[in-house]
């Protein structure tokens, strides 16, 4: 599904290398988790994959089902099936949540040469999906993320994911700022979307999210590289011993 090879990335503004050769293969139907200390390059990886400005790829490649995503505009990546759940979802005053989602869904369909979804069908679908995530009708009418609590913002990200039905989902520290109940709700939303044809990359600082979204593979990232990969037990090791031991072990 997503194939990252020897990816090198530096900040455009300053001459600072952030990713120093990331290799990652995520198969369809699998959930991969990336854990790592602050500043290891986890969020940079998610931004580079989704096409945010300010980063320069200095080497390596990233392909989604064989297509070079690094060459695409952000909207083309989205239409190709890539989705990033933001660590800090952006507030957009004046743009209704519903309008935003319908515009996005139809723009993606249009880009893929599919027919637009009718207003009535869209409404039916979003109501059903919103209900599962305990998002009320009022939240759908409000401007995108404006005045939403931390938990509401993250649930709104998962709602977007559910509506856009991407092939490859990247969750960037989706657990940050969530209490246990909110995290469970978000995790349930993500689990409901797990399927044979869909890959997940869950970026997190802590192991607790992985209690709810059970990963198939866990990677440890440090200083711009994946330094260790393993099964779910690797996350528990981090939880019990911190990163220091693992980093010492691979150093």
């Amino acid at each position: 599904m997503l194939s990252i090879k020897n990816l090198h990335v530096k900040l455009e503004e300053e001459d600072k290398q952030i990713l120093k050769g990331v290799d990652l293969e995520i198969e369809a139907g699998k959930v991969h988790a990336i854990m790592g200390p602050n500043g290891s390059g986890k969020s940079t990886l998610s931004y580079v994959l989704s096409g945010k400005d300010g980063y320069e790829v200095t080497g390596g490649s990233a392909e989604l089902e064989g297509a070079d995503v690094l060459e695409m505009e952000p909207e083309e990546r989205a239409a190709a099936g890539l989705f990033l759940a933001f660590q800090y979802p952006v507030e957009i005053p004046g743009v209704g949540n519903m309008t935003f989602l319908r515009t996005a869904v139809n723009a993606q369909r249009k880009a893929r040469g599919e027919e637009e979804v009718s207003a009535a069908d869209f409404l039916k679908l979003i109501r059903a999906r919103a209900k599962e995530l305990k998002i009320d009708a009022e939240m759908l009418k409000r401007p995108v993320n404006v005045g939403f609590s931390g938990g509401e913002k993250k649930r709104n990200e998962i709602l977007q994911m559910a509506m856009l039905e991407p092939k490859m989902c990247i969750l960037d520290e989706t657990d940050s700022g969530l209490d246990v109940d909110a995290m469970k709700l978000v995790a349930e939303g993500v689990n409901a979307l797990r399927s044979e044809g869909r890959g997940f990359l869950v970026i997190t600082h802590y192991q607790r999210l992985l209690d709810h979204i059970k990963p198939d593979v866990v990677h440890i990232m440090a200083d711009g590289k994946i330094v260790k990969s393993g099964g779910p037990e690797l996350a528990l090791e981090v939880e019990n011993n911190g990163y220091t031991d693992i980093l010492a072990e691979v150093a």
Binding site: E73, P74, E75, V90, I92, A104
Partner: protein, 426 residues
């Protein structure tokens, strides 16, 4: 005396190019207005309130020719239930207009001088004259003196349909002067719609007297012809618990100066004036507003939003004057521009002058670019760059559009803005 003495001053040169309609009930008011023009002189660049907008093309003897432009759109307000009154280059078109009868309203034309309409005679030019102090508005006095036509609307009830004034532009050199007078009796209600490019150069004045408990809504769309020029004035005086709400959308036009002069004279009156403009390239748009609070407990709002690109210029001069006894005044003013490139500019002069001690007045003015974070967020969800920019631009304009009370009119205006943005994508 040298050569200069034999040359006409710019004001006299302009006056020499005009004919004052003679006879009838408006003659005295016109003569007084002409005296005001002569005394004030037409605006010049050095005038305090003309610093940001060059008045020369508005004051020179003839109009600069303006080409006609057809975007292929259905005219705005087209499908709405309304009474239409059509002017072509400032000339009333009886064939294109509806019959001027509507329940709760008496409509006459200024050009029909044979009828002495007492209420109009008492009003014509009076709000304009009152609005000359403390800031002079010579183009409005010129209008009172030389207006060739206009509508006189006396509202006694609550008509079921809005009155829609449509200004067609057919002659590339036309120079039109229209003056409307509207009076709402106590408790009366009226909505006036205006649209169309009007003329190569358009000088329009609207005086609106709103009696106690009456309610006046005004929605205007100025646009279409890129080269048209317009100087418009609204003068309004509000009685107790009356309401005035005006919204203007401006798209296209090399030069537009919209002045709005509001006097709140009855307690607990409400006046809202709002504008949204979208300008691309050779576009200069000036909103000049003066609101006087002269009664207790009145509320005024000014909400102006300008989207500017490719060297377009936006101007906002807004003043709130709160007189000594106008306690419990609630005054709000915001003017904002969205500059879509570095060539465009926004010039704002907000002013507050407050003599009462128990008031709440706030004002703000900002200039900014498209929010890059929001743009990326939308694009990351699959919304293409151009469409995402339009969405954010419409969101920026929304606060002004929300000032329109009627939902159908709000949607009509938003639809026009969206279509304009789509046509002007780069």
């Amino acid at each position: 005396m040298g050569e200069a003495a034999t040359q006409l001053s710019p004001t006299e040169a302009r006056l020499a190019a005009l004919d004052m309609p003679r006879g009838g009930w408006s003659e005295a008011a016109r003569s007084e207005a002409l005296a005001r023009v002569r005394q004030m002189g037409l605006p010049e660049r050095r005038d305090e309130y003309w610093k940001y907008t060059r008045p020369d093309t508005l004051t020179q003897p003839g109009a600069v020719p303006a080409a006609l432009f057809d975007a292929g759109e259905v005219p705005i307000f087209d499908g709405m239930e309304r009474l239409t009154i059509v002017f072509v280059d400032g000339v009333f078109d009886p064939d294109a207009s509806d019959d001027l009868s509507l329940e709760g309203v008496k409509i006459d034309r200024l050009a029909e001088t044979d009828a002495d309409i007492h209420w109009a005679r008492d009003l014509y030019g009076t709000l304009e004259a009152a609005g000359q102090d403390p800031v002079s508005r010579p183009l409005a006095a010129l209008n009172t003196a030389f207006a060739t036509d206009g509508v006189l609307i006396h509202v006694t009830g609550k008509p079921s349909r809005p009155i829609s004034l449509i200004y067609h532009h057919a002659d590339e050199t036309s120079d039109a002067i229209l003056h409307h007078v509207i009076r709402l009796d106590p408790g009366a209600e009226l909505t006036v719609l205006e649209n169309g490019p009007a003329a190569a150069r358009f000088n329009k004045c609207m005086e609106v007297e709103i009696a106690d408990g009456a309610c006046f809504h005004h929605v205007r769309a100025q646009g279409r012809d890129h080269e048209r020029r317009a100087a418009t004035h609204i003068f309004t005086r509000l009685g107790e618990e009356s309401v005035f709400k005006s919204f203007t959308l401006t798209a296209n036009g090399v030069l537009t100066r919209n002045e709005c002069v509001i006097e709140l004279t009855g307690d607990n009156a409400i006046a809202h004036v709002a504008g949204a403009c979208v300008g691309d390239g050779d576009f200069h748009h000036d909103d000049t507003v003066f609101i006087t609070h002269d009664a207790v407990g009145c509320e005024s709002r000014q909400v102006f939003k300008k989207v500017l690109r490719n060297g377009a210029t936006g101007v906002f001069q807004g003043k709130i004057l709160v007189k000594k006894d106008a306690q419990k005044t609630d005054g709000y003013q915001i003017s904002q521009s969205l500059l879509l490139d570095g060539d465009s500019q926004f010039l704002a002069k907000p002013e507050l002058e407050i003599y009462a001690d128990d008031v709440a007045c706030s004002h703000g003015s900002t200039s900014g670019a498209i929010d890059e974070e929001a743009l990326f967020y939308l694009r990351s969800r699959g919304v293409p760059h151009a469409e995402a920019t339009d969405l954010l631009t419409l969101a920026f304009l929304a606060e002004a559009v929300e000032e329109i009370a009627d939902e159908a009119l709000r949607e009509e205006i938003t639809g026009r803005m969206a279509a304009w943005l789509e046509r002007h994508r780069t």
